[in-house]
């Protein structure tokens, strides 16, 4: 059933027991704005970490620090036991193992859905044209977009674009997938089709970090939940437990506002 499970990554996966992703004392300043104030985090294989919290709390920044799209001002990020905040790291290589899906889809508008998926396979992973085509069609089919492979992003709905974006990230066979508020820009009736893809992906055993406002998804799919508040992890634990027994006033207040 699951492509991810049947298809282990060619290079060495993390040793059992070792964290796939580890953040230690991560701080981020934008100018004078202190966005992350010392975040520690470990993600193991098959973890689905959902990150919730008020806007401006640093959720997206935290997620972007995992693939070093934002470079932490202080602190370290490890990926598969390697400190990727070390300046000598080949970030391009590391990023091929970390898939990201963005709120604004960020598909390349001048390429078809298919080309969006194959371009990095061919140019970065140096996969042959035929194989890239095959892998891309597999992933497009997986997100239910196989029949739209030759469409341009401008011809697709938001939900369809976002599913192509997920296929684009999956085709790289990442070891972890990061989802940055991927349903926030969608019309309400299009949210379901994207969440469905993500739920299936979690069921296939993909390691995921999901920044989201979809509390139902967070509760049902998350294996662990982080409440990020004012740049710090305010609370973390098993999602249902946090929903039913929030330990802090801040989390109680947050739930009161969003639920």
């Amino acid at each position: 059933m699951s492509v991810a499970a049947e298809d282990p990554s060619p290079s060495a996966p993390a040793r059992p027991g070792e964290a796939l992703v580890r953040l230690e004392g991560v701080h981020k300043w934008f100018g004078n704005l202190h966005v992350l104030k010392g975040v520690d985090l470990e993600m193991r294989q098959r973890d689905v970490v959902v990150v919730i919290g008020p806007s401006g709390g640093g959720k997206s920044t935290l997620l972007r620090c995992v693939s070093l799209l934002e470079v932490p001002t202080l602190g370290n990020v490890w990926f598969e036991g390697k400190d990727i905040t070390d300046v000598r790291t080949d970030l391009n290589e590391v990023r091929t193992h970390i898939g990201i899906v963005f709120q604004a889809y960020n598909l390349f508008p001048h390429m078809t859905a298919l080309r969006n998926v194959t371009v990095a396979l061919e140019k970065v992973l140096k996969v042959s044209g035929d194989e890239a085509h095959e892998r891309a069609m597999d992933q497009l089919a997986r997100v239910g977009m196989g029949n739209k492979a030759s469409s341009y992003p401008g011809q697709l709905s938001g939900g369809q674009q976002q599913r192509v974006a997920i296929a684009r990230a999956l085709a790289m066979k990442p070891r972890v997938m990061l989802f940055d508020e991927v349903t926030s820009a969608l019309d309400p009736e299009l949210v379901g089709e994207v969440l469905e893809v993500m739920i299936r992906l979690a069921g296939d055993g993909m390691t995921m970090m999901v920044v989201t406002h979809e509390m139902g998804f967070a509760r049902e799919v998350g294996s662990r939940m982080l409440f990020l508040d004012d740049g710090r992890i305010g609370e973390q634990g098993e999602p249902r437990e946090m929903f039913y027994k929030p330990q802090t006033d801040r989390l109680r207040q947050f739930f009161a506002k969003v639920l």
Partner: protein
Amino acid sequence: MAVTEARTVEPEVAPDVRGPTAPLPATILALGIASLVVIALGIVFSQVNYALSDRTLTRYCIDQQIPPEDNGAIGVCNIIEALQDPVTSGSLYLGIALGGIAVVLGLATYKRMDSKRRRDHAITGAVLGSQGVLLAAAILWFRSVSPGLFGKHFLNFADLHGYGGAFLRGIRNTLVLAFAGELGGIVIGLILGVLTLSERRSVRAPARIYINFFRGTPLIWQLVTGYFLLLFGFGLRMAAFTVAIIVFALNTGAYAAEVFRAGIQSIERGQYEAARSLGMSYVQAMRYAIVPQAVRRVIPPLMNEFVILIKDTALVVALGLVESEFDIFTTAREGQAATFNATFFTVAAIAYLVVTLPLIRLVNAVEKRLRSGLVGIAGAGG
């Protein structure tokens, strides 16, 4: 099938809700139009009358002692003389009168007009009337000063006999200069434009210095200095034409760099991040994701630069071109110097417009197409 046919047909276009006109606004509009028509008719009548008449020498020609065999000059004489014709005079004064009435009536009443169409008619009548008045006044003023001199120096096409080939060669040389300069400029500009976007000041600084230098000094200084520098400073044996192409490329490169920089900056940051998150290097992200989109957005401004460059090539008149290298303006300048007849400049303007007007139309068409959203982006397929 039958049901859909039975349905009342919705109007295809938005209905006209401007309402009816009335005698007064309609009269104002008619006066405005009449003012322009009367002026045009009077002038055309006199001109045709003189052109068809058998009078070989006009009074003005005799005054200027123009020989009867100089057909070109006589043609000009007829044009000038016809301007003084009583029919033309009458039409000009009548045009001013009609136009003046339209302006006065229109301005006095348009605010009280109670429908959109009445108001439109009153205002349009006043505008046309004022145009008629201004046109007639300008012609009256022109014929009262020295139309003879003007005709002799700017509309005297007789001396241009035998220059047709020279002007065609001029158009070709102008286009070669502009094309070659623009191509070189695009290559230089793309490289410089990317450099100016670097995070490192050490990379940005040289590009900035180059751009500021070429944008900050006059093109004619660059041409003349470049010419002396290459030929005498460096002792290169080079045609002035080649020097000009090099300088145009260097200069256009500076402007094109700013166009490319703006084009690249206009691409959403998310595109760059998406490319990098797929493991692409900076260069790959530029090459596959950013530049292909930016190129489409910079086409109209680059075409505008090209039109500007076509006109700027006239500055090569300052260099020592040999005759086969003459551009449009140098051709005209040499012709004028040989004959003391400035009609060469009139023809040069026509030659430039023949080249630039279609290009300007093309730029506008391309801009419109690119601005119509989807087509510009998804149109990559077509």
